[in-house]
């Protein structure tokens, strides 16, 4: 008997009502004990719905789910089911039910009414497995996101389950947290726990031997991961293959070489090196001439624009410990703060809140600057200084020549000129209708009537939202992805000269990430200045002209993308990755192959450069000439 058996599962939300939607259709598969299965699909494919069925959180509308022989439709079997299959969810902070680490881990065993000694034993064991031994009495607030997720895993382990289902458990974590969690999953599987890993990230899929692909509520594929990547089929349409694989296929087509099915850049680089036995001598410096004819539109535009920088920061320091509520009533202070001054901030006090030390940089018009750095290095704080949400405590910030903080009257103008899109902009939604939500900013700026409507229409177009279809829809009834676009449109509607984006791609699947990057590129082409802070090196590489690296509040590196990414060792010592293609470049360089990349990175550009290296095969079939 398999551990998990899903037979003809169907799930319908709100059956019988006009809003009824079928999330899952005729799903059948099994999971054996000890397997490591990845369940992938684009957002909206029904992955989470399926996950909830595996633990009895949802009951099937049709078909059935058997866990170790127990039917999830049977309420008396549910305790046993939940002891067999445990779950870890996406947001670490939404799984915590106690004020200390050990109390939280103990929650599961407590529910099982086990004896105190047994609970203690399980708590100790789970915490050491996840690497949190010694943290027992610590408050969960003091943990990093990665640690919180490990705590959630400990909570699941304390049930001593035979399988753990991870529902997008890594999507909200930074690269380090993700690495930790994946390593833990691997280890648990090695020790015998069955793992079902639900994700939309292809680089995580390669961890599993078996992959199940879900799309539009149906299983599109169920088999070994090599099979999935090897096939040339369009199964992965919505998700996209790993970039390294796409590159390999493109090169195979162009150069007539078989590079196998490398799923990451190191493997690809080995394949390329293997395919270049004697060419290294002659192809010494391929790559540079891969530049397209004529300058890019962005380059042209920048040549035309002003040469003075748009934003200048010098000697900026900021410390959260310093605050000055004087001895007046809180409300008075808040009211004064509201009158055009810095909005009151309620937040500080935990260990992760950074300061800034003497940061200086300048951002040119039409440029794209990426701010990178480990979590807690001050990226968000810096960004919030650039649009006058924070007034400088020390040092100065100048936007378009105007000193930030010099006069209260100027602050709204600055904030309009420099728009800031926070992480998860969908969380700021409040208006009933989409149109009104997006109109909020421009309306406060004084727009009205037809002009306002046109502005909203433009903003929605930019963000990829259909104006007519969506403007009268209930904002809260939209999908998560659409809500995020609404949040973005709300800032775009102010037509800012510069756009600051704080982690714009967190939690997005490959398609959405690509669309977001395209949107930002489009804005850049139109002359908008962009500053993004991100953990995603590939995104940074694809957009940025210049990179700024922060660590513990100080600016430790600055320069063009080429310069900064070239210093891979320095980046790694800070705990940062390099973009995949850079990894490739470094490995080739190490073997004496001269090779350069053109920033911002473009897929075609990389393939062009590599094809030149490998010797393009002019094939009768493809080009029609010899």
């Amino acid at each position: 008997m398999s551990l998990i058996e899903v037979e003809d599962l169907e799930h319908c939300y709100s059956p019988g009502s006009p809003h009824s939607t079928k999330a899952l259709e005729r799903i059948s598969f099994t999971v054996e004990e000890g397997e490591y299965v990845a369940l992938v699909g684009p957002n909206g494919s029904g992955k989470s719905t399926l996950a909830f069925h595996l633990n009895g959180l949802l009951q099937p509308t049709a078909g059935r789910v058997l866990i170790d022989g127990n039917d999830t439709k049977c309420p008396s079997d549910l305790p046993a089911i939940r002891r067999t299959v445990a779950m870890v969810f996406q947001k670490p902070e939404e799984q915590i039910v106690a004020l200390t680490v050990e109390e939280d881990t103990a929650f599961g065993p407590e529910n099982l009414a086990l004896g105190r000694e047994e609970i203690r034993r399980r708590v100790s064991r789970s915490l050491s497995t996840v690497g949190l031994a010694g943290y027992e009495l610590r408050s969960p607030h003091k943990l990093s996101a990665g640690q919180k997720q490990r705590l959630a895993i400990a909570g699941a382990l304390a049930l001593e389950p035979r399988a753990i289902v991870f529902d997008e458990a890594t999507s909200m974590l930074d690269p380090r947290g993700r690495r930790e969690t994946l390593a833990l999953m691997r280890e648990l599987n090695r020790r015998g726990t069955t793992i079902v890993h639900i994700t939309h990230r292809m680089d995580e899929v390669v961890e599993a031997e078996r992959v199940v692909v879900l799309d539009s509520g149906r299983i599109q594929f169920d088999g070994a991961s090599e099979e999935l990547f090897g096939s040339r089929s369009q199964v992965l349409g919505g998700l996209g293959r790993p970039a390294a694989l796409e590159t390999a296929f493109a090169l195979s087509r162009r150069c007539g070489i078989d590079l196998g099915t490398p799923t990451d850049y190191p493997t690809l680089s080995e394949a390329i090196l293997a395919a270049l036995p004697d060419r290294s001598a002659t192809r010494g410096n391929a790559g540079r001439d891969g530049r397209r004819e004529g300058a890019s539109p962005r380059g042209e535009l920048r040549a035309v624009l002003h040469s003075t920088p748009l934003i200048e920061v010098s000697g900026l320091s900021h410390s959260y410990a310093r605050s000055a509520p004087e001895g007046r009533s809180g409300r008075m202070r808040r009211r004064r703060a509201h009158q055009g001054d810095t909005p009151p901030s309620l937040f500080t006090g935990t260990a992760d809140v950074p300061s800034l030390h003497e940061v200086s940089l300048s951002i040119g018009r039409g440029e794209c600057v990426a701010v990178i750095g480990p979590t807690g290095s001050g990226k968000s704080t810096l960004l919030q200084h650039l649009n006058a949400l924070f007034l400088p405590q020390e040092g100065e910030v100048r936007v378009d020549g105007v000193h930030v903080g010099r006069s209260e009257a100027e602050l709204p103008t600055i904030r309009r000129k420099v728009g800031l899109v926070f992480q998860r902009p969908e969380e700021q939604i409040f208006a009933q209708y989409v149109g009104d939500e997006i109109a909020y900013g421009p309306r406060l700026a004084g727009l009205g009537g037809k002009e306002l409507t046109e502005r909203v229409r433009w903003a929605m177009d930019q963000a990829g939202l259909g104006f007519e279809e969506l403007k009268d829809r209930l904002t809260f009834a939209l999908s998560g992805g659409e809500q995020r676009k609404v949040g973005l449109a709300g800032i775009l509607a102010l037509r800012p000269t510069a756009l600051l984006l704080d982690e714009p791609t967190v939690g997005l699947d490959a398609t959405s990430r690509r669309r977001t990057v395209e949107l930002i590129a489009r804005l850049l082409d139109e002359g908008t200045t962009v500053v993004i802070s991100t953990h995603d090196m590939d995104v940074a590489a694809r957009l940025a002209d210049r990179i700024v690296v922060l660590s513990k509040g100080s600016l430790v590196m600055e320069g063009t993308s080429e310069e900064v990414f070239g210093r891979a060792d320095a980046l790694r010592s800070l705990g940062l990755d390099v973009p995949g293609p850079v990894e490739l470049l470094l490995r080739l360089r190490r073997r004496g192959i001269g090779f350069s990349l053109d920033y911002p990175l473009r897929f075609d550009g990389i393939v062009d450069a590599l094809a030149k290296l490998l010797g393009e095969r002019v094939d009768v079939g493809t080009k029609g000439e010899v």
């Binding site: 509520p325 009533s329 809180g330 409300r331 202070r333 808040r334 009211r335 009151p344 309620l346 409040f430 009933q432 209708y433 989409v434 149109g435 009104d436 109109a439 009537g449 037809k450 306002l452 409507t453 909203v456 403007k471 009268d472 209930l474 904002t475 809260f476 009834a477």
Partner: protein
Amino acid sequence: MNARKIAVAGVLSAIAIFLGIPPIHLGYIPWFAGASLTVMAAPVIIGAVLEGPIVGLAIGFLFGLSSLVNAAVAPSGPADVLFTNPLVSVFPRLFIGPVAWLIYRPFEKRARPVGMVLAGIGGSLTNTALVLGMIVLLGKIGLPLAGTIALTNGGPEAAANAFLVLAVVAAWKRIEIGRRGSQLE
């Protein structure tokens, strides 16, 4: 008490407590002559409307408790002095949720928005009336003064709470209120 009720009660209690924390008093909307309209009753009412009277009771209790603690430890107005007495700060707040739920119940099947608004008004007025009532009973202020406060502060406060309850519950349950469409030309 299923998990859902506990989670909602806990979360909304946290909000009610948070809105009242000095010195920021996020839940205090500035009104005239230095007075404020407080909207901490709104999470209590929302909890009652969504999950029932017991959840409303729990949230109200924790809200009252937090106003007691705040009053003792960081008083910021004459009212706080009175709130050091749990009969004034805790006892009245127990009723906000159940009263709101009772008002909402007949509307649950039809005309929900109306029910939400009435529950909001009712819950808020319960708060005003009982708090002032206890203060009068304990002999701290006279009846006429209490009445004036009830009208000038309690009325607008009820409107504010009702608005908030309506906006949030409608958003959460994806119920459309009123106009069909945004206000764009």
